[in-house]
């Protein structure tokens, strides 16, 4: 049989005409983003630990659209327009947020999304870290900071510990991959809440790098998530 190259053209045209149909739906394109704030001040958390769940009722089965807050307390999601209900699940985060006065359980907030929206979520942290000063000399990282008790009513909680974490990447927290060195001070050993000091020696880093990242974390008694100061890059 003689090969007819016209067939190739024909095939190509068929493919072009039929295969590249547009998808039925566009990808979600509306950005919902924001931060966790207390009086306009960002709340710093461990990366990928505190979730934010969005529910969109009215489409049969419901399931959460889940994201987590970044280290600096920011979140961002790409969504379709519509009405959503948002919740930070109970027991998550070193703060109080939108608790129902009678049950003590968290309530959802309604979000009506029609276009790009920046929505900061106001929370009340148990504590805040004030004026963190983190310095390094001779591979010893020293931090001094104040601790400010924000919740002082019946819901107040004690400090379990304060930590200084050092890591070689910008992810700094208590989890295994997020620290190469840490120092801990028990809450009941804090004598002056306005001036707490911690220091830790940076171990040898392989491959060598001449900088580390550090920040201070505070663990509230009975709460899993720590509250942090902003990450700081230090040159050794």
């Amino acid at each position: 049989m003689k090969f007819k190259y016209q067939y190739i053209f024909l095939l190509a045209i068929m493919c072009l005409a039929t295969a590249c149909k547009k998808d039925t739906y566009d990808a979600p394109q509306i950005t919902l983003k924001g931060r966790l704030v207390y009086n306009g001040e960002a709340i710093n958390l461990e990366y990928n630990q505190v979730p934010l769940e969005l529910y969109q009722p009215g489409f049969g089965k419901t399931g959460a659209i889940t994201t987590t807050f970044g280290q600096d307390g920011t979140y961002s999601m790409l969504l379709f327009s519509g009405n959503y209900k948002a919740i930070i699940p109970n027991g998550q985060g070193p703060f109080r947020w939108n608790e129902n006065a009678t049950t003590g359980r968290r309530d959802t907030v309604n979000i009506n999304l029609t276009g790009d929206q920046t929505l900061d979520l106001p929370v009340t942290p148990y504590y805040l870290i004030r004026n963190p000063q983190i310095t390094v000399s001779n591979r010893v990282v020293s931090a001094s900071f104040g601790v400010n008790k924000i919740i002082t009513d019946a819901n107040a909680r004690d400090i379990q510990s304060v930590f200084l974490f050092v890591n070689k990447t910008q992810f700094v927290a208590g989890a295994n991959d997020y620290k190469i060195a840490s120092a801990e001070l028990a809450g009941n050993a804090i004598t002056n809440a306005n001036n707490v000091s911690l220091s830790v020696t940076v171990p040898a880093i392989s491959p060598t790098q001449n900088y580390v990242f550090a920040r201070v974390g505070l663990k509230v008694a009975g709460i899993e998530d720590l509250i942090f100061s902003p990450v700081q890059k230090l040159t050794l």
Binding site: K61, T62, G63, A64, P89, N90, G91, Q92, T103, G104, R105, G174, A175, N176, D177, G222, I223, E224
Partner: protein, 629 residues
Amino acid sequence: MKRAYKAIILAAVLTTGACRKDNEYLDVQPKQVIPTETLFSDPVLVLSALANLYDRQLDFSSLDNGWASFVDFSEAFPSENGSSGIVQRNGWGYGEWGTWDYTYIRELNLFIQRANASTTLNAADKARFLAEARFLRANYYFEIVKRMGGVPLITDPLEFTGDVVSLQKPRAKESDIYDFVISEAEAIKDQLPASSDEKARATKGAALAMEARAALYAASIAKYGVNTPQVSLPGNEVGIPANLANGYYTKALAAAQQIINGSAGSYQLYKEIPNLSENFASIFYDKSGKNKESIWVEDFKTGSTKVHSYTVNNQPYSSSEEGGDAGRLNPSLNIVEAFEKLDNTYAPLATTDANGNPIYYTQQQDIFAGRDARLEGTVIIPGGVFKSQAVDIWAGYQLADGSIFSSSDATALRELPGTTQNIQVIGRDGPANGKEFRTQTGFYIRKYMDPATGSGRRGRRSDVAFIRYRYAEVLLNAAEAAFELNQTSLALGYLNQVRSRAGLTTPLTQINFDRIVHERRVELVFEGHTLFDMKRWRLAHVVWDGNQMSVDDLKSNIGLATKRNTQPWGLWPYKYYNPGSPNNGKWIYKEVKPNLVTGANRFQFGNYYSQIGNDILSNNPKIVKQPNQ
């Protein structure tokens, strides 16, 4: 004429063949389905239906789940490169360990309903079958409540009549499920045979052992739940009020004592072999009538399809009956050093003296001398024996200058410095980092290993039974319940029985919570208790705290309930090579964290109760979510 003849024949055929009654024509018994009435008229058929339900029981670690279900929680290291994730992850997903098998529960409920309705079974058979199905249902609810907390308690088969809402049941309280397990056990125990020879089917002993364990779990959740108030829900779907603790401890003790005083059959600790380590190991492979310790087992049979590969997967590499298929489950030094010394004290395995110099041992096993006999009954130590072949575990030569002289494989021969002869410089069973199927911690597993010839071959495999309840655990449950009820001497009595069987013949005179935790750990390790024990004592987030484990962490605080246990460590033997030194040829040991261990287990509050899937939550809006999720 001929045509008329044909017509007559045709008429005859039509009248005889076609004119059967319509209902007779359609009424044909199916050949592949046994109708319900037929099934529930014959005890043999009922038993075969019940066998299917037995087979669907869920265990945490079990021999048919494979070796990997034993390996987690830093008590062992997985020596299979495809499974390294177990020691490289930093924690567990919230969905891990979840179960929601309401298909199984429905079929159990249907079985109970239909067996109840049967009029042709004789009364004794019927009572036993019903009790067995109720036992299986209670035991599965116990398994669910351990993992999920309170769940909808469905005890009748639900029928769909067009109304979905009536089928949507809310979660029961966690304590309600435990109460159900306890009350079912009490209701059925006298319908079941009270015999220690019946192992694979439910017995009175099994029902009471389930009751004792369930009541103990409920009691400790009530007592220790106060340490983690976040792990609870306002409707008590998760969490049990603290004031119920004593009631549950009392029930646990009473149920255990019914087994101990012999009212359920002549159960006793297994003491058949003079060598105490061999004796301990054979509890798990002796299926003869001499074994009065196992109470309820999942049985296997060679030559059938119900066999398992546990021995194939975990046998020592050098004596493997199946080529390279071996050595996956390597117990960690963490668990090995937890076995105490015969004077009832804890001590790390002595690798260095007070000045930090290595200790030289003449015989390889000397470092393990004078320890709890259960050590060698649970793990195969360097120089230990399995199927009368000694394992060859050593990591290389240590030279006089302190350097290590080794190779990656026993077949890679090398010349020692100053010699000209190629010799083997590493054990045939390892350890070397990353060399899968041989030990990477310095130990092999012994518990549940089958000594029968051929058990390590894929073609035959093993029929060692998985023990779900055994008498030693009943004693430990009784000891814990008695201790929590301040009946110290009673608790000590039960605890010392278990300990003296293991060769710890000096009785303990003091008991505390750490002792209880320790005893359960060393007696019951690799039997699927670790996770649930740590959860009910609310210790899981303490011992698996996500921090790396240093050698100091490893060697200190042994025997403490709150000891960190986030990474599996190994203990590698080396031969000392220094001709001229009196120590030449002796053994030294080093604590080693296998290279593949990079993660550190972190147990979060959200791990205490497994996540309920979104499909379940959206199918049934009455289900409340787990705490911290």
